[in-house]
Subunit: 309 residues, 6 copies
């Protein structure tokens, strides 16, 4: 296969390229470059080649929803191509549109979410979501006066990164252990978290502990909003696939402690927040309720994943 | 003051004597020894002396409910004393009864709670409660077959002690981070936690995170039981005092992380679990609902704290 | 052993004597008769003989809370007996008091509950509780105008008995299948059910389906009241014993249907209603919340079951 | 009948004597005066005379729980009287004790509740409860810094009295319409309301709208506490009586508006708050959960209302 | 009218054709056949004839949502027809598409739902839904290891058919009475039920007892999924029509029991499950939340039912 | 600017034109008239002139969602105009369509909602919604037999208007104070209220007290439906804007009462009802769940508000 495809797949596989958005754009860009350099083939050969290229890219991180979305949006009109020229320009156009929309999405979300923050607000966030932090930084940039509580987020303690980022943006931030979420909830106005994956029925898969934050927010009548680009919406869940929750090693949890060998550790990376606890998804396509996720996915995929069955 | 009083107060103050039960028994024993050695006084002088001794003991750990309870039970009949002899024997008798009941309480609770465990159960516990662990060990001793999930319990990570204790008792134990409580709750049959303090209206004050465990148990229809000696029932809450939640330093939370100086940390040691989340208190006076705590406290204190107003 | 003891135990064992109240009174009466005829012994021999007699009676239906309660109340002062005469008269007096209180209890409950019914009420009941039906009949006797919905109560269909009893008392009664409870709940004012056993923490053990009725009542803001003599309050639960839920044979469920041999059937007789769904216990000692059950049990048993540990 | 009895009954009937506490003390005082002046009778005649006097007093305001409680506590030992002297001194002693306890109760409750208020608290109250306001004034007197939201309390608008009283005590007070309770609830820490009547199962009967305040507090995780002397605990509910909710005229609601004659008005004075919404009763006998009300009532009335059936 | 129309209507009316899917396809096929044989008319006459034919078919089972949907989808472009040829081919094409989609829908749903089942799952189902059972059989065919609890489903006891079907597919199945649903819910991972009708606001109308199952699942945090072809989505509810709940005779409930003539029986066939209890609809158009039903219906009917007002 | 624009803006500003629907139609009509009279310009000049006209109209009532919607729908194709003729006819056509749809919407909603009412229903409404009352009047016109409870709706007491309107339509209506909502809820079948604004995530902004009504309906399992034209759906909330809740003066609340100057008054006009409490929105585009609002807004605004970022 061409260098650009193989190299990009390699960089993704080895984690040199990370982050849902960057990952998707890198994969799509590889297809665009490959297409631009494509010479001497026929429509038939291009269809085969670009499909193989797409498979290689997808195999480099099979669980990344954003990558799957980028590649499929780029090749969405494949069945409609009638000439090679049409095919080449379709891939280039759709690929560039995806990348530019993806780049714009983060700033659109930041602007939307910032409008929701008013002076005197006390926010809470969990783990380290660039979309959620983007909102807070934009609100601060606009001069809004608010405070943030941030959780430690064991076992990786991404909360340390979060509080550092927020403090550097001059935002008044207070760190708590994950167990203190319910205790501080009566002081909180609004919760902003990010998303790893969103299912077609509106459920959220995100960093372990997110569902506990959502449950506490619900108990205290506090709005719980999820900040996410819609490329985190999972098309596969449309057709019934469930999201596998990754489990990681015991050493992340027991680090520094001496425990008997026979102690087991259960270390799931994500948890599932039911839609009943979610007030809104704040996306680059607007603010929507969990009940609206299906509509976005279905209109986007009615010509591929839903039709090809 | 006498050596025994001063020395005991000192050992309590410097944390050489720890644990709610041991603390209370040490304080009461000091009064009993002091009484046994009391010579040459009158009823009037003894009343004054023993009151002063009690005050010194109480001042050594003013927030310990168990100590307050022990001292007050020992001196409860003070207003009824008519002769010095009566006074001396009253203190001795009541003091010894308190100590022996307190010593028996833990094993009574272990036996009661063990009856609640059946083969195949999956339990969850939070932090490191000797009453809760006593129940599990007793059930294991009786040959029952069950599993336990135990939380890490940040920031002090007493969960490491808990899993070690349980593993040493050959109990099948799995450790999780505090954020994973809700995720495992659908596998759990019953939660056992301990108590720091119980209010007259049946609320529980216990290690930070307890109320979050209780809320998740409630959400999943899982019984949440609190294992505690009744000397954790707080008489002062009878007359309206609220329990102050201790806050500790930032270093316990940010240890090992480098965060900007302006990051604040909120580190409360305890939280409050409302009675609606508590199925039962398992005590040495039997298994009771939160609505029954007042009755126990009121009958015990109708001659002192409730009367003296 | 004496005839009266053996015969009574036999009648209980073979189900010739049934019903929580009749059972308990029969057992206690046997002890009273035995005592009245007791001749030629010493205090010591009587203590041994009456204990043996009690054990025989109790063994005839070991799971009946009311029988246990009757026997133990009758012999409660055993440790205080100082002469044979005192012993004999204690058993006679306490036994008769228990029987007469037990007989009066049903009519007291009927009167209490009837006061709660007002013209226009629509009630619901489940299974066939003599205490609940007694209330309805008393209210009808007083000329009150109300309707009752009664469930079929599969698998035994005791609802057929219930609707017959109510119709014979000229009460307007409508029968529904158990699955229709939630559907009719929006028409209901108040639910009255009976009890098999009540735990010291205020939970109700009653005919399968009761907890589902309670949950539906809770969802619709309808008062759910339990009508029961306090001899259904279980002293053993005070000290941690859990109530074993009897499971019965498959034939009760699949009767009349032809299903493959490999189909399993789970046929529990009772279920557990958590105290959060119970508004009040209507008893011969008055109307109380679940949080008050412990107080009744503890004051009754502080000299035996709670002390003898 | 004697002048003191007739006059007092008259003053109560014509509303010259008002307020649950003052009412009860007036009635009891009348019995005490009558007893002090009692001459020339026998034990038998006194029993008859004092019973008739009690009936006259009770008939002057048959729905007042406090009056019923005062009279019955005063005459509670009637069946034990063996001589006229004993009878006279029993009535005098018990009557005086009731009056003095009743007078002390309000200040005890004020002190208890004031302990629950901490600097920075934001409270909410409904209608005009002297017990709830007493707590706030005591807390202010102690120098505590807090705010209060008070409802208008249509149709009588007692909220106007409440805000005036609080403002005169220099307390920071904000008035809202009854419909705004849920909107402000996210700013509130704790709700204090009074009681008209408390049932033996722990339910609260109080000014219309109270249950809506309680429901909103529950939804937002805010503590809802009821401040009341225990003479509001209704002994009749022990034996099944329900509390009749008074309905008043349409003119209180439509005042000032012109509506067609055929518009109906439903104007209930009180509503019922279920115990699940109540955190605690703050009483002169201490702070208790709704599950503890039965215990207080039962121990007080085990010799009369519960026995005489 | 033509034979094919009359005969089909007759077969539907007399229940020789049953089942939501088969019914709809039979009706649509009749229109297609009628169209294929249509000769010698004009566009105008065809419009009138086909409308009359459609009315006859619809009148044969006026409450069947699937039939209504099939007929209306087949004739949806009626107002756009410009020539007779266009009209004939439109009916044929649309009719065939509907039938083939309807036939495919069941297998698509089975595949989708089967993906949701993982080894070790314990499922519950109510009544006898071919869509729900199709999912379980497909999962079994794929070698998945799971158990199923199935309710009896009084009064018709369709549970007997369900357990037989599942056992014949070698699935581990346990039958329970309807009253035992809440008791087993703590062992259940996921509930799959079918649908009779789905409203535009996402509510489910299904066999009596379904809402009780949903409520218990909600109480225990168990996912409740509805398996249904979208031709059960009711277009008439879009414009406000409510679904009439059929009531059937008393004999279905009291069979085998002798009850007095004056006992009434309420025997509703269906109940309504509110959308708050439904996790997802599993349909041939993908997995969606209740909030997405309107979108599917509105886009399908924006040219007829919504426009023609 | 032209007279028609200036005059209309003036009439709106001075409240001579009121009501969400009339307001929007007046603004749109002004643009249509202005367009019809437009002479002598170019496409470029018309674009500038019509934009300025739109801005003047919008500025006359900046918070009215319906006005914003009308103006934007009228000018929606502005970027597609290629000739002046096309521009003029686009404005005329779209403007007239909006006005006629808006006029039809109210009667469509009345018909839809009337279908939901059945004989014997007891409804409740809050404040004075023309859409909700339109439904009730239409149902009455159809001869349906039902009752209505209507709240007073302090502080403006629009309930007086509501009960008058309903009584004049011969509907059986009962007025209650706002505090009595929860008390009557057990008698209610269905709640119909109107809307001021609906957010893209499905939340309702409506007259103060609405959320309290919704919460009580939820507690009692009563359907809560919102009757509204979709021009109350707020496009700005799509992109994150929050709805500002107007606060009005103290005099509206304290009228007629004498309170100290230092008493503050908080008088918000609207409150926010979360989507979890809303069963359905009854609109001229059909009956939908809160989760469907986004879809309606997004499809309507994908070419302007969502694209122009």
């Amino acid at each position: 296969m061409s260098d650009i495809i193989a190299d990009t797949a390699d960089e993704i596989r080895t984690m040199r390229i990370r982050g849902a958005g960057r990952l998707a754009r890198a994969g799509v860009n590889a297809l665009v470059c490959y297409t631009q350099r494509y010479t001497g083939g026929t429509l038939k050969s291009f269809k085969e080649d670009i499909s193989r290229a797409a498979d290689i890219i997808l195999a480099s991180r099979p669980t990344a929803v954003s990558l799957w979305n980028g590649i499929h949006e780029t090749l969405e009109e494949k069945d409609l191509w009638e000439t090679l020229e049409e095919a080449l320009s379709s891939v280039e156009d759709r690929g560039r549109t995806f990348c530019s929309m993806s780049e714009k999405a983060a700033s659109i979300i930041a602007e939307e979410g910032a409008k929701m923050i008013v002076d005197g607000d006390v926010l809470l966030t969990h783990c380290n979501s660039s979309a959620a932090l983007g909102i807070m930084k934009e609100a601060k940039r606009q001069g809004k006066d608010f405070k943030v509580y941030a959780t430690e987020s064991r076992p990786w303690r991404q909360g340390l990164i979060t509080v550092t980022e927020l403090a550097e943006a001059d935002i008044d931030v207070t760190m708590i252990v994950d167990s203190a979420v319910r205790t501080v909830m009566s002081r909180i106005n609004r919760v902003f978290v990010g998303a790893d994956t969103v299912t077609s029925a509106g459920m959220l898969i995100n960093k372990i502990g997110t569902s506990q934050v959502a449950s506490a927010a619900f108990e205290y009548g506090v709005q719980f909003d999820v900040c996410t680009e819609t490329f985190k919406f999972s098309p596969k869940t449309l057709v019934g696939e469930t999201v596998t929750i990754e489990e990681r090693g015991a050493d992340e949890v027991v680090t520094g402690g001496k425990v008997p060998a026979k102690v087991k550790v259960f270390n799931p990376v994500f948890d599932i927040t039911p839609s009943k606890y979610i007030n809104a998804y704040v996306t680059e396509l607007g603010v929507m309720s969990p009940g609206s996720v299906y509509g976005v996915l279905a209109s986007r995929h009615e010509n591929n994943i839903l039709r090809t069955r």
